[in-house]
Subunit: 477 residues, 2 copies
């Protein structure tokens, strides 16, 4: 009770860090959210000393995500050693939390027996996540070592296409017939040993496994024992086809604030359940993809090698090279003008560059609005008109500004006037290209995030050089 | 049983579209996921005819998100008319699903009595979402019309800072003492009328409301009636301080795959619950923010006016203008060289532009890795080394390529050699700037997504012009 201010701050800090969980581990993160350095040093020492006891006490108890962070943070050569030393105590789920390259590196080198033994402990969606990265031979060998029902379940999920809801679903769920009472259902859950690790709703099915409806657990808890399930079930809580693309499924989750949803096969039979935690990953990946693609990068990982990274970035640079030469050839047309007035060469990158910046602003907004479905045929015209207006307004503002500065710099009102006019033209072109190019790409089924930037820069470069040098040639020559 | 193939495709299509929900509405979306045009036309006609019956039958039954989409899709002048015509049948939750500008436009013009009447029906987190956008007078008037307990609850959430967990939390929750049995708890939920609309866990508190733990509903359902809650509760399921920033809370949700988490005040007393659906919105907004900032756009909405949009984009363009003049002044230094060899003016944008593209690739990857906490002090050195390697490799590839093409174009091996060397230098500079600039900005507490692009382009423009024109001057003059 000495200094209340200081005390409160301490309590607050304590609450802001991830709290100590019920599994009893200490906080492994520093204040920036990275794994604490002394913890990593201790683990490194334990690996070097083959101190299995330490690892079992301090690492085996981590939450799967925390263990994933530890694996990413330690040195590459320590990773497999850690997995080997921990043996059966290693929670394979942690591998679903690490970067793909690291996962494959570890899984490829783990003995198939260890994987098979550990995979039996996982929820089916996590098991599939790990199995799908393996080559066919290893996968078959591991599946062959699993109990029959487990093998059938996993194979069913693996048979659905990559990025489908069926691939991401969990095949463990609770399903009851419609004529059961709430009391029977609760008694069943109390007696049954083989329930999913956690669940928030149960499904109602007919004898052929056809989905009839679902009931949220809170609904069961607030209903009297004698009430029949069919009277409280919800008809079809947005069943998701196993073949549906995972991004589309994620959109349904967002749209209807779902926590979990039934996954059904072509005959509307219940085959699994998709849960919000998997969907959150999909949503994040999707947003990340758009960001990386707009920046001209594909699906690269921080752990990729120099050669892999270089190769994945070359295509975009190559496409940009072609458009750069195109822009250069436009300048080439005005060689004679530049030879007479070198000031033009000095100023021309400003016109092209500012147009590029304005175009990328409009393009970014457009790509994002398309991704979130906020932009469609009904409001496209309104938005195009607005962007044209913004281009006109900003073209006037920056045209005047640049014209003034350039005119003073070169002590030539003509040059000031020409660059101002060119600037206005290019800002308008940037606005219209920035919105129409992504819209058209989307309309013709291409991903606007991938290709828009190249086309927009081509338009702003060429328009910038053409307008500026063209006006100058017309005026001076 | 005529044509099995055709029949299956039909079933599949049916499953891929959002299914008809238990509330009985038809599918309002077309295949692109936009609200169907004929449905919008019908609503428009009903509004024009003041056909309240139609609206009550077809619009009042929509899911809140669907109603939100409808509001966004109809004409601006129809929106308020729709809300007025629907009166008490209008589900205010829909307003939490629309763009901020549209929400404010509607709420500002709705009579305070209608808002007060409707807000009593909402979950507290949705109510706060709407109340926080109102000006102080309107908010006070609405709060004054609410029942006492409701008013206290909402005010408590509104007192927490914007973007805090306390502001986003729901103040309705189920809490029981630790000495209750599972049976008592279930009986309580069966009898109590005033439960939250939906929930997935219950909390355990002492008489002072101090949080002791939590129990997931599936755990309650699989436990015998006579078992005491304290024996099945989890100690502290990552309690979140009400003052914690919502982004930090979202990270805890992701990290521990939470569906909901207790929110506690400074004295560790339970004040509310944060749920995954609010967190999904936070995660999305965060990813969107990074994308928009990298593109040089701030918090703008599609519904902003030309003037608002223009004004919000001017600062970034202005900063870029300064750097563009800086780059131009570098060119100015080499005026004499360009005057003699105009080919340099034609080729110089290629060197600067390709460097800019390579720099933006590295920068995009770096900004994303920082945002997802995949990049920190421990692996920064490794990643910097990798990027430098990629810069070297791609510099060699594109240096050779551009050198060859430029040499052939101008029939001058000297020019080819000079542009190749300049290209290599600029690609290396781009790689190093692309990674070090975001890292340094992050280190000094600035948001790397906002400022990186300007600095990186400045480096690649200046290095590109300086290397190319400098080498040419040294060689030819």
């Amino acid at each position: 009770m000495t200094d209340k201010g200081a005390e409160m701050t301490e309590t607050e800090n304590e609450l802001i860090r991830p709290a100590v969980s019920d599994e009893g581990f200490a906080d492994i993160y520093d204040e920036d959210g990275h794994v604490r350095h002394d913890f990593l040093t201790q683990i490194g020492a334990a690996i070097a000393d083959r101190d299995v006891l330490y690892l079992r006490q301090h690492v085996a108890k981590l939450h799967e995500t925390e263990l994933g962070h530890v694996i990413e943070a330690i040195q590459p050569d320590q990773r497999l050693a850690l997995v080997r030393l921990m043996g059966a105590d290693f929670d394979l789920t942690a591998l679903t939390e690490v970067d793909e390259a690291i996962r494959m590196q570890i899984v490829d080198q783990m003995p198939n027996e260890q994987i098979a033994a550990a995979i039996g402990e996982l929820d089916s969606d996590d098991a599939v996540y790990i199995l799908e990265d393996l080559d066919d031979d290893d996968r078959e060998e591991i599946l062959a070592q699993l109990p029959f029902t487990e093998r059938v379940r996993l194979r069913r999920a693996l048979d659905y296409p990559e990025s489908s809801a069926g691939r991401r679903m969990q095949t463990e769920f609770v399903a009851v017939p419609p004529f059961w009472t709430v009391g029977q259902t609760i008694d069943y859950m109390r007696d049954e040993e083989d329930l999913p690790e956690s669940f928030t709703q149960i499904f109602v099915i007919d004898p052929t496994f056809k989905l009839l409806g679902s009931v949220n657990l809170d609904q069961i808890l607030r209903t009297k024992r004698q009430v029949k399930i069919e009277t409280i079930m919800r008809d079809t809580n947005h069943p998701i086809s196993a073949l549906m693309d995972q991004e589309e499924a994620a959109q349904l989750f967002e749209q209807y604030d779902l926590l979990s949803a039934a996954v059904v096969d072509e005959n509307e039979r219940l085959v699994g359940v998709l849960t919000i935690d998997d969907v959150v990953d999909v949503i994040q990946e999707e947003a990340e993809e758009d960001l990386l693609r707009l920046g001209g990068v594909g699906d690269e990982e921080l752990s990729d090698s120099v050669r892999e990274t270089s190769r994945s970035r070359i295509p975009w640079l190559a496409v940009n090279l072609v458009t750069a030469f195109l822009a250069a050839s436009v300048i080439g047309v005005f060689e004679a003008t530049i030879e007479r007035i070198v000031a033009l060469a000095i100023l021309m990158p400003i016109v092209a560059g500012m147009g590029g910046n304005a175009g990328s602003q409009t393009m970014t907004v457009t790509v994002r609005a398309l991704a979130t479905r906020n932009l469609d045929i009904h409001n496209a015209f309104r938005v195009v008109r607005r962007e044209a207006g913004v281009g006109l307004l900003n073209g006037l503002v920056f045209g005047l500004l640049i014209g003034l500065v350039a005119g003073l710099w070169f002590q030539d009102a003509n040059i000031g006037g020409i660059i101002a006019a060119a600037m206005l033209i290019n800002m308008m072109a940037a606005a219209i290209a920035g919105i129409l190019i992504p819209l058209l790409l989307d309309r013709f089924g291409a991903d606007p995030a991938v290709a828009s930037a190249v086309f927009v820069t081509t338009v702003t470069d060429i328009t910038g050089f053409l307008a500026f040098l063209g006006l100058a040639t017309w005026w001076f020559m």
